[in-house]
Amino acid sequence: MRMSVPRVGSLHYMVQDFCRRAGIGFVEPPAYRQDTIERGVAASPEHFCFPMKVLIGSAMESLEAGADTLVTVAGYGACRFNYFAELERRILEREGYEFQMIAFDSPRDSVPDFYRNLRAVTRGTSFHLPRVVKELSLVLDKGHVFDEITKKEIAIRALEAEDGAVDRAVRDSRALLADAFSKEEIAGARAAIASRFEEVPLELDRPHVSIGVTGEIMMAIEPYFNLDIERWLARKGAVVERSIYMSDLMTPFGRNPVQGWTDEEMERTADPYLCHEVGGHGQINVAAAVDYARRGFDAIVHFFPFTCLPEVIAKTIFVRLSSELKIPVLSLSIDEQTGRAGMQTRLEALLDLAWTTKRKKGSDHFLHSAAR
């Protein structure tokens, strides 16, 4: 079996790690290109959301690169991604590909289905169930460390004293993590990475703004679709925090180690604005936005695919949230027609606003006049 998974954040990193442990063949999905998008758009129905079109294109590329099994997570609850796996199978079959498709639902929906899928993946390996569970928890641990690197990286890149210092730290950290497999090795790597980041020279008193990045997972995480937002913002002097990490979403029991809050805390934070989950990551993003506003961030950027159901709800709510909590929010909807220049212009406008907000926050005089 040579399997492939969608390229979203740290997902393929974690699955690749699992495959190495279990001795399963893995085909890394090729990095996104314009061609991926065009092929996906050509093969998909018009009204699929953008990530689905991209994933169809990406699946074609993976299959052509030698994969014979597509493994995918079948979406969160009510969002349209829930039925994507079945349609993806039908579309790719129509295009003439031969493959097997394994779509994982959340074990919360059905434990037997989850187990059956797990068996389908680990068939042909020597792993028995307890071993699979143990290895999966180690893989998750590793995923958390991987995402923590990103979290540190985006928080300090705008403040690095010399160009490329953070990039070097990231490269070293990933190398440290790559060879860690056992529990002790992963803990060791985590400590080594922490001290590696300590060494990065920073200019802490450099003026900067703080920006929160939220949105649908693929648009918010994958740099190809969002102008590589975290680097772009860092170049403009913004310290960045992101609301969503793949390894957090994979973690069971409502824990989110990278983000550092539990699902209950998240729901409580979102409650005044959105008191029910709406599928996808709508509620997480509303909660994150409330959190950013309370912690005094200067602006929020919100990425979502055109007509995304949960994020359109979040966007509607952001209008109210923005005026009540006095924080600028820029919602950017992305699809195959999105132009980079248009996005850049609007982001620049948001940054101007953020700098102004920041300066005004510093001056009491303005606060008084605003209150009046």
């Binding site: 129905p45 009204h47 699929f48 959301c49 609850g77 009510a78 969002c79 349209r80 829930n82 039925y83 994507f84 796996a85 079945e86 349609l87 039908r90 579309i91 129509r94 779509a103 604005y273 959105l274 008191c275 029910h276 989950e277 709406v278 599928g279 996808g280 709508g282 055109f306 007509t307 995304c308 159901l309 949960p310 359109v312 709800i313 966007k315 509607t316 709510i317 209008v319 109210r320 949230l321 005026s323 909807s333």
Partner: protein
Amino acid sequence: MKIGLPRALLFHQYGDCWVSFLDALGLEPVVTDATTGDTVVTGTVYADNESCLPVKVFAGHLLDLKETADVILVPRVISQRPGMKACPKYLGLPDMARALDPDLPPVVAPIMDLSDRRARWVADWHQLALDLGKSRHAAGCAVDTLLGRLRESEERRAPAARGSMPIGVAGHLYNVHDQGASLGLLERLGAMGAEVFTVEQVPGRQVRHQLKTLPRKIKWDFESRIVGAVMHWSRTRSVEGVIYVSSFACGPGSMIGPLLEDQLSRERSVPLMTIILDEHSSEGGLVTRLEAFTDMLRRAPASRGRAARREVDGA
């Protein structure tokens, strides 16, 4: 006290249940009038531009209530059958309503979760009645009325009849039965000589039976009913053609549309036409497409017959 109810979205399914609940409490329900062009325009201006047409229509109705109602009732429908989920738009609807306009009257959002056989969700409605200043007894009676009406509405079903040209119209209740939103689709089809069948005329048992043949379960309740009904029509050949009505930016609709296309073409079954509604839909465009579809159906059996005759002659 006047309780406002927007005539949109799930009102088309549960509206009379909600009204009877308010009646039982002795509150005055204010239901907005049927959708007009103006409703759609207001909704489009206020609602988020990427919402689907029914949500924009909902926003239009909601703003109609701004002056006339003291409280607006927007129940949060979570699920309609065990193991099923509602579209995210229903789940977040009350929160969206609150975010729409700061000057709106307060929005109350009791939960409705029909997947719960023990109906624990009625506690929310009971509490709502108490919050509106009613006695415990009155609240209990009203909740009983609500549950009774819900049971009745599940059993109610229009008789199916076979006409000269049976056409199945599959789509959400709030699109198909809202003449303002669908530009009078059903009436126009009737005027063209079609016998129109809609999704709710297919018995639930048939729908569930057909759904079992799908490799992956559809978890949206409404959409699973649409798919089950269309598969029933197509496999029993009880209609000559199917018109699938969806709205632009409808999430679940954008998934089952391609599914139906794929399924019906794999089975080489009846013709399927998809009509996507949005606030820009024009009557002219709609009529042209409906005429083309009915003309095609009218000619199809004849041409099939001719082809068969030619084969016989050739042999």
